[in-house]
Symmetry: C2
């Protein structure tokens, strides 16, 4: 069903952050962030309570690195409170600020999904609280709670699709104006 | 569960193509194309037989337009045989060839997912056979066959994720070399 070889690897950065425990206690906040989806699926309160039970919540101080480009990693983050800067090394090896991510947005889902190395570095800009969902958790949800699993996957698909539209449109602008 | 307002719209282009009927008769070819997935999920033969039952298969002659940029559309395509060119209008209104897509690859999944207008135009380069999966079909699969639904969603998530990595890396090259 999945490649477990790297499970657990790449969680060293989490280990130095403050562990706030299971996500159940954060269900209210998570619900207010992910409750509504534009198409297909909506998360109801039961879904979010279930999802919280699979997540673990952490806290990062400003300046703490949450994800490092090139690392192996098998989890995604949901920012519950705070703000995270996304940096990427350019071809000259310089760290470039790509974008910032605030509450309700997710990070790191590409590696959670495809197991490839982290594409960018994520650093807390403010005091940041975030939920962690690992690939193992995701597989468990799909098997144990297929309806919730579908809703999360639909959410991911929608989000990646919109991000791809945005990135492709930006790339086209660069390609059109050499 | 979903926004049905546009269901059926945007299928005018399909209406002029040769309709080869349900996808069940193409299960062998579909299986050879989508059977194996790198992570999470694999499609077994039963899955593909089921999936074929939800798809409709069409044939396009070289030069026929399958999807038109800016149109409303609620279906995705799986290229079973042939080759499709993807064009996008640039800021000067010129049609630019973005990429080509061959058998086993999918097209149009962003609009199937998020309901936004088509991002690009798809034109058959060769004799092309493709399966069509509408948003209605996808919702039905998720409700009626949740395990198959999850596998399709995982496939979509993986593919979008890899496409986003690729597009982002290309964009970064443009941004680094002005």
């Amino acid at each position: 069903m999945m490649d477990n070889a790297n499970a657990g690897r790449g969680r060293e950065l989490l280990a130095v952050l403050e562990d706030l425990g299971g996500g159940g206690a954060f269900a209210d906040q998570i619900f207010s962030l992910v409750g509504r989806s534009q198409f297909f699926a909506e998360f109801n309160r039961d879904d979010v309570n279930l999802l919280g039970g699979y997540m673990r919540v952490y806290h990062a101080e400003p300046g703490q690195t949450i994800i490092r480009e090139g690392d192996i990693g098998d989890y995604m983050l949901l920012v519950i409170r705070g703000e995270v800067d996304i940096y990427k090394q350019n071809l000259m090896g310089e760290k470039q600020l790509m974008t910032s991510v605030i509450q309700g947005m997710t990070l790191g889902e590409m590696s959670m999904i495809d197991g490839e190395p982290r594409f960018a570095t994520c650093v807390a800009l403010k005091e940041t609280t975030f939920g962690v969902l690992t690939r193992d958790d995701m597989v468990k949800i799909i098997l144990e709670k297929p309806s919730l699993g579908s809703k999360i996957l639909i959410k991911l698909v929608t989000m990646l699709s919109q991000r791809l539209r945005h990135t492709s449109a930006t790339l086209l602008q660069y390609m059109s104006n050499p």
